[in-house]
């Protein structure tokens, strides 16, 4: 227990992680560059092209309003990644900071923060997000707040637990006794050991956020049409499945790949 986290063992990245990173890079490229390179407006309707098949004037076809599917997919991917990144960031920063604080200060600071995290964990995350969404269904604000609020706990708990072990290490105790300032110790001794764990948690958090955002709009309490959101797109196109099955499947495949990439990246090699 005392020496596990002392020095991060340089580990060869596993093949699954590598595959996840590659897939993620591809999808992130599509999400970042797609909306810039594809000139079509994701909201422009062209009823003569309604449900146009892939390969014609529209590369991946057009939806029931004749909107370019490729453009909508690119914007949808950007929206999902954007929401996921922002909510993971908004969860990680306070989560890690409070985790470090609790490990450093201990005592009442830790107890109060533990209690706060227990309140959040008392309800399944989606219920909390739904409760917040009830205030303003279909808006970014409560969705984002709800995701950050449910996701920070994991960062807090893991950071606190690992930092508590780290801080009792001899070399760090020595550094504290020598009078190095806390921030210096955190930066030089704690942060390098915590970084891999926090990255893993962030990838999981982003996957969870992508799932939540698409799920909530699919059950019509999340972002509303005409926002090009992947879950929305799928539900909107579902009635036309018999005519254009590919159109329905594309957003689903994109969601699947995004979540898969993040989960592969975050995978521990055992489970």
């Amino acid at each position: 227990m005392t020496h596990i986290a002392a020095t991060p063992i340089p580990r060869r990245p596993s093949r699954t992680r590598l595959a996840g990173a590659l897939l993620l890079a591809l999808l992130a490229g599509f999400a970042l560059l797609g909306p810039v390179l594809i000139e079509a407006d994701p909201a422009r309707q062209d009823f003569s092209a309604s449900l146009a098949p892939a390969g014609g004037e529209y590369l991946l076809g057009a939806d029931h309003y004749g909107r370019s599917l490729l453009a909508r997919l690119a914007h949808g991917a950007r929206l999902s990644f954007g929401m996921a990144f922002l909510s993971a960031l908004a969860a990680a920063v306070p989560g890690v900071a409070l985790g470090l604080l609790a490990a450093w200060r201990g005592g009442w600071t830790r107890r109060v923060l533990d209690f706060l995290s227990m309140i959040v964990l008392a309800l399944p995350g989606l219920l909390l997000v739904l409760l917040l969404l009830a205030f303003a269904p279909g808006n970014f604000g409560p969705l984002f707040l709800g995701l950050a609020l449910t996701l920070w706990v994991e960062f807090y708990r893991v950071t606190r637990a690992s930092a508590a072990v780290l801080l009792s290490q001899p070399h760090i105790e020595a550094a504290r006794l020598l009078g190095f300032p806390p921030l210096y110790i955190l930066r030089k001794h704690v942060a390098p050991s915590l970084a891999p764990t926090v990255t893993t948690l962030a990838a999981f958090a982003m996957a969870a956020a992508i799932i939540a955002v698409s799920t909530l709009s699919a059950i019509s309490v999340g972002l509303q049409p005409p926002t090009p959101e992947l879950g929305n797109m799928m539900i909107e196109l579902l009635p036309y499945y018999s005519e254009a099955p590919l159109h329905v499947l594309l957003p689903a495949i994109l969601i699947f790949l995004m979540v898969l990439a993040l989960q592969l990246l975050a995978r521990r090699d055992t489970a």
Binding site: A122, L131, A134, T215, A218, M234, I255, V259
Partner: protein, 311 residues
Amino acid sequence: MRRFLLLRLAQAGIVTLVVGAACFALMRMLPGDPAMRIAAGRYGPDAQIAQAAERVRLELGLDRPLAVQFLDWLGDLARFDLGHSLVTGAPVLEELKVQLGASAWLAFWAVAVSLLIGPLAGVLAGMRPGGMADRAGLALSIGLRAVPPFLLALGLMLVFAVGLRLLPAAGYGTARQMVLPALTLGLGLAAVSSRVTRNAVATVTHAPHYLFARHKGLPEAALIRRHGLRNAATPVIAYLGVQAIYLVEGVVVVESIFAFPGIGHALVHAIVERDVPMVQGTALVMGLMFVAITAMVDAITAWLDPRPRSA
């Protein structure tokens, strides 16, 4: 055991407080005059609305200070007085009774399906770590985990209801209508529990007591039954506690997709219709269902493995 129980009771209290506070705030923050809105909900928009609103205001005590109203609100909650739906006017409790039955059945069948698939696949994989079954199971599990429940639901619906026309796509009442929703959740749960089982089995089959039992000549079937399964079952059941989150969240999503008249479906509906008493009632019951499932898992784990836990 008593400590667990107390912990779960505290959790139930927190759930009630969080849901109650959120819904109280929700009620007060809806645009417009709440009395007016309730009156409109009860008597329709054309009635003599101002007088009706005055009566509602007095009846519900909406003219008192906020703090008093909040305490009153919590008092009602504690007495399970959940009020009336703003939309239908029916008592929330009555509607919840019907819906809870549907949701509980769904959760039950989902867990049953997952316990049918997960441990079986896990034992097959765990008997030969690294073998074909193990690798296939791993690939399937990774794939399934990357499919959000709503996608899985839609996928199964498209294959079995639209494509093969084997099962109904939505509804509630017959056994056939239960299959797809339960399968959706069961598969999602099994994706994880199969791997947990696999790891547990792989560990048990290398444990000294297991190797000894094999050396003394027990037939393989008796070996697995007597010395393998019970030991491997503990982590699997304990993991169900973690999966309770997936189950409850999944119930909300899957019910909405399959138009399954349970609590999750009602919750989503109530949010769209801004029916705050229904939001409160449904969220409360879902939250308490989550606490109840975790408590049950605690109890079963303690029964399977009576050694006191250090954590």
